[in-house]
Amino acid sequence: MIKSIWHWIQRFSSPKHFYGMSAKLIPWFTVSALLVGLYGLYLGLFVAPTDYQQGESYRIIFIHVPAAWMSLFVYMVMAISSGIGIIWQIRLADMVAAASAPIGASFAFLALVTGSLWGKPMWGAYWVWDARLTSELILLFLYFGYMALQSAIEDQRSADKASGLLAIVGVVNITIIHYSVEWWNTLHQGATVAKFDKPSMHIDMLIPLLLMALAFKLFYAAVVLVRTRNEALYRDRNRRWVRELINEL
């Protein structure tokens, strides 16, 4: 039983099989990301009520918050798939991790940019050492470290395993970093800085926010599939299945 599951996993996770299957999935993810995203933006920008404190500028949360969530989510995906790659030697998992890093870093970057744009009307400065922005910045550094290590090691397999291990170490650290930055922040700035989140959120704001979060996830799914396909093609460029693919063209 276990053996047959294992066999199935190995077949399923072969780059060749993945390449064929992902081609069918990508359009679905792309279209649904677009539809959900447009609807979420519509609700967020036109339907959700104006905030009584922050006016219209709060509407950037419909991009900022999902981006921040995704930056963390993608890091988790990276760490988990790296773990799978290291423990069970599944190449596809390594490819997913490597393909995810730049996407996650982009999300972190987006969260930082939107956060500081939001900060200008809120705090009168583009950058304030707010706990969340600081954590986000450190997360971006962790992504940079991962990508730098990945590209510095020439042997592909060691590069995957080494950067994968770093991602796992990073996950253990993210919790500690997050906690200490929170703590550091309350200590140094106290209540002078308005927090991003409200104790309770109007349902008309919450729905578009969740829709945007879903749209971001679908978008990530589509992009990571495209990037993993490229990764698979590039890494297996000398293997038979890619050669055959090229010959068919």
Partner: protein, 223 residues
């Protein structure tokens, strides 16, 4: 097993003492960097006190970072690292021995010289004592986490900047709590919480970092 730990620790210490002139380098670096701040900012007592915890902790962190290379670089270059990995003893124990040696050679000297720097930076006595405790608890963690970083980058040519890039973010919690403990002590407030946090992180790092380092070394050897 304990014997293997002890012998490897002794070998590393002996090697370091054969090169005594290199032994002091991280220490001098530490003092030098701290000295730059009064020169660059201002030497008034209030200003010095305000920046002292951060400056001393950041300098300690950089001093450890620069010395991390010697953890595995030489062993990697001359092939001894392969022999360590082919030892019938658990690699984790050997890693722990190397890290202990590293801490004895860099972390501990920093702790010992810290009171002098406290004096440079006009730290009050109570804060000076807390500085020592915080360094005592924090510097082993710097060595332990650093070991993971070096073992991942030791095979990379010109891996120095890369090493800082991956290790520094991981050092942040230690920096925050270490510097804050000293800061709080200056205001005469209790520092138990901060020190306990550092101790907790030390226990966590002590139990997990050698494992991660051992895995990282095997990955590095598998090029």
């Amino acid at each position: 097993m304990l014997k293997a730990y002890y012998y490897l620790l002794m070998r590393d210490l002996r090697l370091a003492f054969r090169n005594r002139h290199e032994l002091a380098n991280p220490l001098i670096f530490f003092v030098l960097v701290v000295t730059l701040f009064p020169l660059a900012v201002t030497p008034t007592t209030e200003a010095l006190r305000a920046m002292a915890p951060g400056v001393i902790w950041v300098s300690a962190l950089l001093a450890v970072l620069l010395s991390l290379d010697r953890l595995f670089k030489e062993d990697f270059d001359d092939g001894s690292l392969d022999q360590l990995m082919l030892s019938p003893n658990p690699l984790v124990i050997l890693v722990l021995a190397k890290v202990t040696a590293h801490w004895f050679l860099t972390g501990l000297p920093l702790v010992i010289i810290a009171p002098l720097l406290g004096m440079f930076m006009a730290l009050p006595d109570e804060a000076g004592a807390v500085l020592i405790y915080s360094l005592l608890l924090g510097t082993p963690v710097l060595s332990l986490i650093g070991a993971i970083g070096v073992s991942l980058t030791v095979a990379v040519n010109r891996g120095g900047v890369l090493l800082s890039l991956i290790v520094l973010p991981l050092y942040i919690p230690i920096l925050i709590f270490g510097a804050n403990a000293v800061d709080v002590a200056m205001d005469g407030l209790p520092v138990r919480g901060q020190l306990l946090f550092l101790a907790a992180v030390l226990v966590l790092a002590l139990s997990l970092a050698p494992l991660a380092t051992a895995v990282a070394l095997r990955i590095t050897a598998s090029r």
